[in-house]
């Protein structure tokens, strides 16, 4: 995802409340008066679904709603397309207020702007795969040929070409959810709502689907709101995560922000068993790789830089910081003695490196085997930073669950 440009807010939720039960407005009063969900239920038998929820989602972002079962994730997600009608508050999507829309307006809004993927796939059993994918387009009133064409394209996107005429009960769970995904994508909606979309799948297939979603996101750049109760899933696919409890959002932030600075004990306990080596990646723990030396420079220059910065190695780069290799202090001293003009012979090429998004778990074995600092490269082999053995240890030491009172 590219956040260099000004991010555009596409969904803005403002002080949203949802109370289930008769005369729900009084529930809002109770909440404003500071009573808890439990107290309100005992006193009035009203159920608090959402309690003063506010947040923003940026265009193109994968925003995860996470929390224990019953904390209000589905209620919040379903409020966004008004399958659930909020009791109070504002939802502004693409500049339009959703809460105040009448039935016709909300239907039209759903048709054009929002795709939804369901936990149990929710394919229509009497329809072929192609007609399932075409469902939303059919509702829009698109002619048959056109909607079939679009649906074929959507099926191809999720890797299910060739299954057009199959029936839903002939497909495995993972395939069914791909169809569900294709159905949500076929209409070209800007926003995708996914409620525990992968929770019903086997762990391995689930991981595949997560990868697939990340992959699709890189190509399509939809705005995805993804509900899950699984922290690992949230950390893996979310650009930002909102942690919920008792209908409230406790903390919003990137995976790192939530892991490194849990807002309170609840969040802390939630993230306590996370395997940090899988969550943190090279870009989270790398240091600046400065200075570097240009490959056409000579050994004298290298020696001076090393002396000045007190370091024993230097990365060698060409234009645009494309990594060429590394030079070590001993070799540079040798080269100076022999009065070499370039670093060409001195440079050690083909050193191990990692990518920006390589997780620590994969960095550890690489760095353990290497005698050099580990360069971190982007897709174009440009040097972005470096990792020393000490930086790995430091990162892991920074966040250890201090207390384990479970």
């Amino acid at each position: 995802m590219d956040f260099e440009e000004e991010p555009e807010v596409i969904i803005k939720v403002n002080q949203l409340f949802k109370i289930f039960g008769n005369d729900p407005k009084r529930g809002v009063e109770h909440l404003r008066a500071g009573r808890t969900k439990q107290e309100i239920f005992e006193k009035t038998s009203l159920i608090v679904g959402l309690d003063d929820v506010s947040f923003e989602v940026m265009k193109g972002e994968t925003f995860v709603l996470m929390g224990l079962s019953g904390c209000g994730k589905s209620t919040l997600l379903r409020s966004l397309n008004r399958l659930i009608h909020p009791t109070a508050g504002e939802i502004i999507i693409g500049g339009r207020d959703i809460v105040g829309m009448n039935d016709d307006e909300i239907r039209e809004f759903r048709r054009d702007n929002i795709g939804m993927v369901f936990q149990n796939f929710a394919l229509l059993p009497h329809r072929s795969i192609l007609d399932n994918v075409a469902f939303g387009l059919e509702i829009q009133g698109m002619p048959l040929a056109e909607r079939h064409e679009k649906s074929r394209a959507a099926l191809e996107l999720v890797g299910l070409s060739g299954y057009e005429t199959s029936m839903p009960d002939q497909l495995s769970g993972g395939m069914k959810q791909r169809v569900g995904l294709a159905r949500a994508l076929a209409g070209d909606a800007e926003i995708l709502l996914m409620d525990e979309a992968f929770s019903a799948l086997d762990p391995l297939i689930r991981r595949d689907m997560q990868d697939e979603l990340i992959d699709l996101q890189e190509r399509l750049n939809k705005t995805v709101i993804f509900v899950t109760h699984d922290l690992d899933e949230a950390l893996k696919i979310g650009n930002r995560i909102a942690l919920m409890m008792d209908g409230k959002i406790i903390q919003v932030g990137t995976a790192e922000e939530i892991l490194m600075n849990p807002e309170n004990e609840y969040v802390e306990r939630f993230v306590a068993d996370v395997d940090m080596t899988k969550v943190l990646t090279a870009k989270d723990i790398m240091m600046k790789a400065d200075p570097v030396i240009y490959c056409k420079s000579g050994p004298h220059h290298a020696a001076r830089l090393m002396k000045e910065f007190g370091i024993s190695s230097l990365f060698v780069v060409s234009q645009h910081r494309i990594l060429r290799g590394i030079v070590m202090l001993e070799d540079v001293v040798e080269a100076v003695k022999h009065d070499k003009k370039t670093l060409e012979e001195t440079t050690i090429q083909d050193i191990p490196f990692v990518q920006l998004d390589t997780p620590i778990s994969e960095i550890i074995p690489v760095i353990a085997d290497s005698r050099y600092p580990l360069p971190v490269l982007d897709e174009d082999a440009r040097l972005k930073g470096m990792i020393m053995r000490s930086s790995v240890l430091l990162a892991l030491a920074r966040k250890e669950p201090e207390t384990n009172d479970s």
Partner: protein, 274 residues
Amino acid sequence: MIPKLPIGDLVADLVDWIEFNLGWLLDIITAGFKTVLNGFADILMIIPPLIFIPILAILVYLVSHRNLRLALLSIAGLLLIWNLQLWDLSMMTLALVIASTFIALLIGVPLGILASGNDTFDAVIRVLLDFMQTMPPFVYLIPAVIFFSLGNVPGMIATVIFAMPPAIRLTNLGIRQIPTELIEVADAFGATPRQKLLKVQLPGALPTIMTGVNQCIMLALSMAVIASMIGAAGLGYQVLVGIQRVNIAMGFEAGLAIVILAIILDRVTQSVVR
């Protein structure tokens, strides 16, 4: 001694009043039922048996997902009916059954749809249906005769009312059984109530509705036979005459034809469901 209560007289007065004030409505209903019945009867009776039987066999074969045994069974049964010289009477009974079922579905399925979407209406109609189903079929003949006198139309009226409950119940049940997630799909993609009904609810409820159609047809057949007592034509009348004259041969043959029709109708509608 308490004097005899004048219930009978009161009802007679009420009927008089209805006939006087709502006679036009009864006439419309009569005309409508006659039209439907004659439509089906004409089609069934005009086609000669030797053409009708193979056509029907092919139809049975196709709708029963290529059940050859069922098709052959139908041919044998219908040939037997023809041989017993009960063809016209059988077609009359069949016309009564089909016409009554048609009307029962025409009213029952929409009522079922209504009940599936409205809990109050559902509760009301449920009580009514429970009450109706506790009554013996015989009882349905009385109001039919009162308002429509004797003949095919009152027979059909009784048949329609008697056969309708499963159509209502199973349509209602079928729609309510659809998983909420599927309803949410329709809503989430912006379907109108009508689109939701036609594209999600009715197709999803179809297997259950077809079970209702099967029950509806079987009830219609049994009532169409009983309705011979108020002058409905067909095999039932033949059985009735056979009983009255203690003509065992006549009664038995007509009874056999009814059984054959029942088996064919039941098997065919059941295999459509599957």
